[in-house]
């Protein structure tokens, strides 16, 4: 196990190097010039020169790349170019709101999708099954943007079931007051694809011989579904959830923009618009590392969930 972990961690190094190189090329080399934005409305050349020097973007590219690499390994990305805030503070303060939306969304969505998928798989081939499949397909086909615009207007404004937007410092207030509408929206949009996928997992299992054997032994359909099908289908379901985990930490910038949630997704958009390179670099690297770690974690968990899975 130890050796396996060490090897997997070692394999992350080249990937991280690739991420660093790609981000560097895309933003540092060919991206916008932050000095022009920071120089104000009367951009004096001396001022621009001064800003470039202070930000270190007048250095040759290899020096800048080297600084970037150092930053990654010291976990110190310095300060935001546009607001002078410590980048670590930026990320930490944005992570909470993003998770406040994303974690309930994931839990609710997984729970609903698994339950519904099981029910639909149970009555597979029936009219109900077909109707649900068509309805979910239609639901999936409407743009997220349309959902947000309509839901905010309808539930937030016309019916006034929820506040139109907002956020507070208090986790509980956020959860009961501000998060419900965006969470509901997110669930609504992601439910259909997961439901369809999980249904196919269940159908896969139902097709296996052991199910037929179990039925032949005279087990009730209910027992077959819950004891055998659900249990075995949980593995691919967990994989799917695991793959989606890193996106938990990016959040949905659309939801964050429309509902004024101070999350990471909005920060990404803002930073790109302002060419705030330290923030972009930090978020990218941090998410890349997180993605790799989560993938590793999922693999390890597998091993425990199903000892037949070999760790290679």
């Amino acid at each position: 196990m130890g050796a396996y972990l060490a090897r997997r961690l070692w394999q992350m190094v080249p990937t991280l190097a690739g991420v660093i190189a790609l981000v560097f090329v895309l933003f540092n080399w060919v991206g916008g010039d932050p000095a022009l934005i920071l120089a104000g409305k009367v951009p004096d050349p001396a001022q621009i020169e001064n800003i470039r020097r202070q930000l270190g973007i007048d250095q040759p590219w290899w020096v800048q790349l080297w600084i970037f690499v150092q930053q990654v390994f010291t976990f110190d990305f310095g300060r935001s170019w546009s607001t002078n805030q410590l980048v670590s503070d930026v990320i930490l303060s944005r992570l909470g709101p993003t998770l406040t939306i994303m974690v309930p969304m994931l839990l609710l969505e997984t729970l609903l999708a698994v339950t519904l998928a099981l029910l639909v798989a149970w009555v597979r081939g029936s009219l109900t099954d077909r109707v649900v499949m068509v309805v979910t397909t239609v639901a999936m086909s409407i743009s997220f943007l349309v959902y947000i615009i309509v839901f905010q207007w309808l539930f937030g404004y016309r019916l006034a079931w929820f506040p139109v937007q907002g956020w507070s410092e208090d986790l509980w207030t956020n959860l009961v007051k501000f998060a419900p509408l965006p969470v509901l929206l997110g669930v609504f949009v992601s439910l259909a694809p997961s439901l369809r996928l999980y249904r196919s997992f269940f159908l896969d299992e139902i097709g296996h011989d052991y199910v037929r054997t179990a039925r032949a032994k005279g087990l009730s359909e209910r027992r077959v579904m819950l004891r055998h099908v659900l249990r075995n289908a949980l593995i691919p379901i967990l994989t799917y959830v695991g793959i989606g985990l890193p996106s938990l930490f990016v959040g949905s910038f659309l939801l964050e923009m429309f509902f004024s949630i101070p999350g990471l997704g909005r920060e990404v958009i803002d930073s790109v618009n302002r060419s705030d390179f330290p923030v972009i670099k930090a978020i990218t690297v941090y998410l890349a590392v997180l993605t790799m770690l989560v993938n590793l974690l999922v693999d390890v968990l597998y091993h425990y969930a199903d000892p037949r899975v070999k760790l290679r």
Binding site: Q47, N50, N84, L184
Partner: protein, 602 residues
């Protein structure tokens, strides 16, 4: 799906319970509203965006201010005792700092009360030229105060700005007296001292928080920063050590019902009245608008134009809103939106009749009527000159037909000067037969995109090919700086309300920074230089008018419109009078808590 349908009801109950809990401590006077865009931070010398400056104006006190009532706006003393008189022909200004003004308490003062002195004002001015601060408004005092530029240049060399060395331009005469000496006379110089960028700051605070000054503003103003979640929530609370003021009605217009209302609202009250102000920066316009409409916010400044017909079609407040007591104010701010022609471009630039004819024809062909009526939903007035209303030197009689939408005259003009289709491809060419393609630069916002589409359409109507290029903000700045465009969308908001602040944009020696389309006309420059040496007078206004005439005749810009903004407030917001220069003056606002509670109970 079935389960999720039941969900909102349960959550609604929870939310209601929460709201009920909130009303328990309703005695506090809290005001909530939104900013149209995000802020940067609260170090007055280090920021230039409108919204950070608006907050800084509540926390810090510049030496001077604009009177709350006077229209056109008028200088009044704030941290200074009086408005200085120009000395030595407008090249020396002596400020007397108000005595007994204290900074709000802060650990940096080690438990001492800290009085504002002339030193703090001098320190703030010097900070604007300290290279380490990268002050975007450094140009306010650049090339102006004797000896300051030298300090700046030395700091560039040594890496350290010498704040302690006395210079002739910034003289701290005694504890309460600051004398500023200019390199050349400037009668508009005092306006700079109404801006938060020049507001006095305490050196020990700046040095204590070093890199974190953006989050630790310590000023002498009516409010102080209580909480700040960047780009999300700014909370101000009443500054307990603020000296307090009462409303000065010297310049109020007794004939103006709005002024009378404000005076009645605030009579006998010690300002500020608000205990707490919550400001929410919001990029998207739908939530900002809806948050006001359903009462989550108490006022909305600058109603998004897209929704203007939902509240005030044809400029009149809807009866349903009027019945709720909502008040409307419509104000033309001192700003212009325009389209800049690159005067150094080989095709569109130049001063010969045929080049002038091309630009004048583009101006006449651009469908500004639709831009105002459709894009801005009628919330604009056709701009006749580079000087907008509400600005010293604005001339309401300066009107003509050269900025109209008049495609017939445009076509005639193009035909007359040889900008016709030479090769029969349906598009007009240059007089020498080369193809003519206009490169139009704009940013990626929704309105900018629509405006670009309108240009494309307008040009196609008269047979001119225009290719719009939408780029990110920094790329737009880069291309404009490098002169890689033919037409670029632009806007300018006044730093101070004098015509000079706008006319400077076309002054030759200001190219290429301030005058970024590089208009250089000798006659114009000479008029500008003469006007700069004069105090406000009919003679100076005549020069301003001459300059506006040249700007129209040579058409370095397509002036489009002066926008009219609508501001709404609920009846429980007292004392609210939208000032054309200030984003907000929270000091003058009050909230009638009982009225609000009654309205929300309904």
């Amino acid at each position: 799906m079935i389960d999720s349908a039941r969900l909102p009801g349960a959550l609604l109950l929870a939310a209601l319970a929460l709201l009920a809990g909130n009303t328990a401590h309703a005695e506090q006077k809290v005001l909530r509203f939104a900013f149209r865009s995000v802020e940067t931070g609260f170090d007055p010398q280090r920021v230039d965006d409108l919204y950070s400056s608006a907050v800084n104006n509540e926390i810090f006190e510049p030496l001077l201010e604009f009177d709350y009532f006077a229209r056109p706006v008028r200088l009044a003393p704030l941290a200074a005792e009086s408005v200085p008189e120009p000395e030595e022909g407008g090249s020396v200004y002596t400020f007397r700092i108000r005595r007994g003004v204290y900074f709000s308490d802060d650990p940096a003062f080690r438990g001492q009360r800290r009085e504002l002195t002339a030193r703090d004002a001098a320190y703030a001015i010097k900070r604007l030229r300290d290279p380490r601060n990268r002050a975007p408004y450094g140009w306010l005092v650049q090339d102006a105060l004797v000896g300051l530029d030298e300090l700046h240049d030395e700091a560039l060399e040594s890496g350290r700005f010498d704040y302690d060395r006395p210079i002739a331009g910034i003289e701290v005469v005694d504890r309460y007296t600051l004398r500023l000496r200019l390199k050349q006379p400037d009668y508009n110089f005092l306006y700079r001292f109404t801006m938060p960028q020049t507001a006095p700051v305490a050196r020990e605070v700046i040095e204590t928080y070093a890199e974190d000054t953006m989050a630790h503003p310590v000023g002498t103003g009516p409010f102080r920063l209580a909480e700040w979640t960047r780009r999300q929530k700014i909370v101000l609370e009443r500054n307990p050590s603020y000296r307090g003021r009462t409303l000065d009605t010297t310049w109020a217009d007794p004939g103006d019902p709005e002024h009378r209302r404000v005076i009645a609202d605030l009579r006998g009250k010690l300002l500020p009245q608000l205990d707490r102000v919550e400001i929410y920066p919001m990029d998207a316009s739908q939530p900002r608008f809806l948050a006001f409409m359903n009462g989550e916010h108490d006022l909305i400044q600058e109603v998004p134009v897209t929704f203007i017909n939902q509240v005030a079609p044809g400029g009149r407040l809807l009866p349903s809103l009027e019945a709720r007591g909502i008040r409307m104010q419509r104000v033309v701010p001192p700003e212009i939106t325009y389209y800049s022609f690159n005067m150094e471009h080989p095709v569109i630039g130049g001063y010969t009749p045929e080049k002038v004819a091309l630009r004048r024809a583009l101006v006449l062909a651009h469908d500004v009527d639709s831009e105002i009526a459709v894009l801005y939903k009628g919330q604009g007035q056709l701009a006749y000159g580079p000087v907008p209303p509400g600005v010293v030197g604005y001339d309401p009689d300066f009107r003509h037909h050269e900025q109209d939408y008049d495609p017939a005259r445009a076509v005639a003009l193009l035909d007359l000067y040889g900008w016709v289709d030479h090769d029969g491809d349906g598009w007009r060419d240059r007089p020498d037969g080369q193809p003519l393609v206009i490169d139009y630069l704009h940013s990626t916002g929704a309105t900018a995109r629509e405006a670009a589409g309108l240009w494309e359409k307008s040009m196609r109507r008269i047979g001119i090919r225009l290719v719009a290029r939408g780029v990110q903000f920094s790329d737009q700045l880069r291309d404009r700086k490098a002169g890689k465009y033919m037409i670029a969308a632009a806007a300018w908001a006044a730093d101070w309300p004098d015509a000079q602040n706008f006319l400077a944009l076309l002054y030759g020696p200001n190219a290429p920074e301030l005058n970024d389309n590089r208009f250089r006309l000798e006659a114009y420059d000479r008029l500008y230089e003469r006007a700069a040496m004069m105090p406000d007078s009919p003679e100076r206004n005549r020069l301003y008018r001459e300059m506006s005439r040249l700007a129209i005749a040579y058409a370095p810009w397509r002036l489009s419109e002066y926008l009219v903004w609508t501001h709404l407030s609920y009846p429980w917001v007292l004392g609210y009078l939208k000032h054309p220069i200030y984003h907000t003056r929270l000091e003058y606002l009050d909230v009638d808590v009982a009225t609000r509670a009654a309205a929300q109970a309904r």
